[in-house]
Symmetry: C2
Subunit: 350 residues, 2 copies
């Protein structure tokens, strides 16, 4: 286990010998040896003892505080990342316009290529004309990436690609209760969008923990321009993994009925569908629909399960888990910044 989630409200995290223990009302819920845990995610109202805090800081286990709905609240750090030499390289290279454009193209290329692979894999089964068309449109867009003269036109290509992809994605769901027409966020407006948003938050945590541990500054990226409070580098590195890790897992939980409409509820004070993107700082009351506690547990389990699946990683020519591949891609980016290697997005084989 690389990531330990604690979501049982009112539970307490303690330390005993070299183990992390989760208890509630005196009952032991989880007991994990520290060496198996890279990241501890505490969701909502979870107590933690000072001995556990000391232990986590000493062992260098990334500890993240989320709300029960998966919103980021903060983390425990032993210090600002110590690797200052790496950050000097990062700030030098990511101020060079040509380097930035080239790297941004790799992220967009990887995302669109994985969008296309996902559609093609599912198309074998569903055989829908709209999906076939989307696959072709994506191929044409992917060919344009290399020639994008600047970041703005590159972001235009990425936007068109996402629009094409999400309009086709709805065709791949087999449970008619889960209609998906378009991507909506802030707040997500239907069950599929709720799963997507939560999944991207989880993916963001996965990527950001490897960025933090590496010593890179998560706020300076290439495709996502630097902006106050935006973890641009984490957003960049997430792109190629979104369809592979989150969207694939959403399709699975819906199509296998691992998650059903019973795992959602409409909050009492739910507003009449707010405009998309209108609300910057969401509270649960702003969500028209939410995952139940059981649904949250299921979704986290399915996401983590996907991360633990093995696949072939061409750079090291090994079978690795997707989680390990996330870490490897951060390392590859570091070698790219140091000009020791060339970054290549991780693209699924068809």
């Amino acid at each position: 286990m690389a990531c330990l989630y604690v979501i049982e409200q009112g539970a307490e995290v303690t330390k005993q010998g070299n183990r992390i223990i989760v208890r509630k009302f005196g009952t032991e819920l989880q007991s994990v040896p520290a060496f198996k845990v890279e990241q501890l995610i505490l969701m909502g109202n979870i107590q933690i003892t000072s001995q556990a805090i000391k232990f986590l800081l000493t062992e260098g286990i990334d500890t993240v505080f989320l709300t029960i709905n998966g919103k980021y609240r903060g983390r425990l750090v032993s210090s600002f990342s110590k690797n200052i030499d790496l950050r000097r390289k990062q700030f030098k290279k990511l101020e060079e316009a040509a380097f930035v454009l080239d790297l941004a193209k790799k992220f967009v290329w990887g995302k669109l290529a994985n969008y296309r692979v996902l559609l093609r894999r599912y198309q074998k089964e569903v055989q829908k004309e709209a999906v076939e068309k989307a696959i072709h449109s994506l191929r044409r867009l992917i060919e344009k990436v290399a020639d994008a003269p600047d970041l703005d036109s590159l972001r235009g290509i990425e936007g068109s690609g996402s629009a094409i992809y999400f309009s086709a994605l709805g065709q791949l769901f087999k449970n008619p209760e889960f209609r998906f027409e378009k991507r909506t966020r802030r707040p997500p407006r239907d069950p599929v969008n709720v799963l997507l948003s939560f999944g991207y938050t989880l993916l963001g945590n996965t990527i950001q923990s490897y960025i933090d541990l590496s010593g890179l500054d998560p706020y300076l990226g290439a495709l996502h321009s630097p902006d106050y409070g935006r973890p641009s580098l984490a957003l960049d590195l997430m792109e190629e993994f979104r369809p592979i890790l989150v969207d694939t897992a959403v399709l699975r939980v819906v199509n296998t009925k691992a998650i059903t409409m019973k795992d959602f509820y409409v909050p009492e004070d739910a507003p009449s569908l707010p405009e998309e993107g209108e609300i910057e700082d969401l509270t649960p009351e702003d969500y028209p629909i939410l995952l139940t506690y059981e649904g949250t547990k299921k979704w986290i389990t399915m996401y983590e399960k996907r991360l633990q699946e093995l696949t072939f990683y061409p750079i090291t020519e090994q079978r690795l888990s997707y989680r390990q591949i996330c870490e490897q891609q951060v390392r590859l980016l570091i070698r790219h910044l140091k000009e020791e290697d060339i970054y290549q997005p991780f693209v699924l084989r068809m």
Copy 2:
């Protein structure tokens, strides 16, 4: 109150309304409105509730975990500092050799000038020849700072200045039990050195909290070269404040007998004086002499008292507390990095 220390072992920090409460065995020890707290320092075995953690993260109160001996363990952060534009400026300017040398000179100049002011102030009273000589030697060294051709010779001047200053400092103590011959660290070998080391740790926390809040990267400085794990910028900014805030407070607690030899103890397993600088990762057993719990409380109180004293701050032409001046100097450095103003060290008037 800007900084709330919790050192009562086994105490618990909770949140109630907008107040931070410290309790032990059900008894309320401290109760402070959150708006009065900029920084919360938890030393040793202090429990903290998840509600308090949530509250501290939301309110942006810097929360630092120290060992009972004042060693840094970690902190709670709502994110990596968000102000990426400022860090881009910092990395750009602090890669320019001429800019770095000029800024480093200001830090050294400020430190040596304040060393000299401190010696002169006390010399009025003690009238010792060795001190008089040190004051003159420091003046000659201070004149050399501007002409230093590179960082290495500048660091040489700083080293000579510190040696001259510390050899004179011993003349200023009035309590014969507190003999001070030279500065020793890792571990500090006598009571004065214990107070100095602990004081510099506290000062480091004060400065670093303003650096962290500002969004600067504490690991990239000018006088202190970037090195893995070294908070160079915090060390730079501390220089001018060391004699003013720490050394002055040490002289006071010793000369007024606010702290006496009864506030120290020799740990049971104390080694026979280890070589200075030999031990990188100190544990209490490596210290030949330590502050007692009561001594720790007294020393923190005296340090904080010094920080709250008011003095004239020439840049804004106001009377400010020394704590506010620390913050102002971080802000002045930011304007210097943005080329909106020129950094000047804060130097005490004679």
